[in-house]
Amino acid sequence: MSNVMNPEQIHEIIPVDKLLFEVMKKKEAGLRLSQICVAYVNEKYELSYTFADDDTYQYSLLRVVIDVFQQVPSICKVYPYAVFYENEMAELFDVNIEMIDVDYHGKFYRIEKEAPMLPPGALEKKAQAEEDEKKRIEEEKQAAIEAARKAEEEARAAEEAKAKAIAEAKAKAAAAKAAAAAAANNNEGGQN
């Protein structure tokens, strides 16, 4: 019998901001990128990056779950041939991938229909979700500007109050000193 090597597949779920780091770890271990695919499940995208080890036949999978409007970084700097898979994902499912090395901007296969693998109505939902997200970010920014302005005003008011208090205290001290000096003069005059 030839020696059969069939290890179990490894599944890992990672957040989007850890993606590049984990992919670089796989490259350091000498693994080959096998394929990248995406599925549209429960109104979210589930990306699957699979890697194969040519010596031990170990197959491992990185799963990233993102919202429809979220941006995903491209891994073309680590694995140059990922450009085919990422262009296909951008064309068939309309996933937002940024900084692909050779970017065909949705015209890789030149299909007539936009995002053909999404169910009907999903593109409109995605556009709506993007609008909502943009609005939310704008509102947050405005709220942040307001809060900053208010904080600045309060700080300035506090400064003015403090300055006024110091001035009053100084004036009181000066007045007290003047009164004390006048009283001393009077006493002296009275005595003489």
Partner: protein, 150 residues
């Protein structure tokens, strides 16, 4: 003019799975020899008489097929090989396939099958050659009558 002893073929694959293409090439190899009929597989559309098309028409290759058909000189015959070129086959309901070859060019002979066997392809070529001879005779008669009128 007796042209039926040397028809030249042009073979183009528009979105086929390659099964019918391999059977077309197999029809030209020693066991199912179509070259004994004088057929030569040329790569140049401007020297071809018979256009063998496999696979369905989709958005990307519709202008290409039209241009190849226009580049061939008259008289010409079109043979659709395989069920994908006849009607669209099992891919008829996908989002990219528009239908068979007759959505862009006029087809004369339909050879069904998935993958079409070399015997059927040779039968299709024999009928295409007979049709080609008939068209060539009509073309000659037309040219002669025009010259006679002048």
């Amino acid at each position: 003019m007796n042209v039926k002893r040397s028809p030249w073929l042009l073979h183009y694959d528009g979105s086929s799975c390659n099964g019918c293409d391999i059977e077309v090439l197999a029809a030209l190899t020693p066991v199912y020899d179509a070259e004994r009929l004088g057929v030569v597989n040329t790569g140049d559309p401007m020297q071809a008489d018979i256009f063998l098309i496999t696979g369905g028409i989709n958005a990307q290759n519709a202008p290409v097929v039209k241009q190849l058909y226009d580049q061939m000189p008259r008289p010409k015959v079109v043979v659709a090989v395989g069920v994908c070129a006849c009607t669209g086959g099992i891919f008829k309901e996908t989002y990219n396939v528009l239908g068979g070859a007759d959505t862009v060019i006029p087809v004369d002979i339909y050879v069904p099958g998935c993958a079409a066997r070399p015997q059927s392809i040779i039968d299709g070529i024999v009928q295409a050659v007979a049709l080609f001879q008939q068209r060539s005779d009509e073309h000659d008669a037309l040219v002669k009558s025009q010259k006679g009128a002048n």
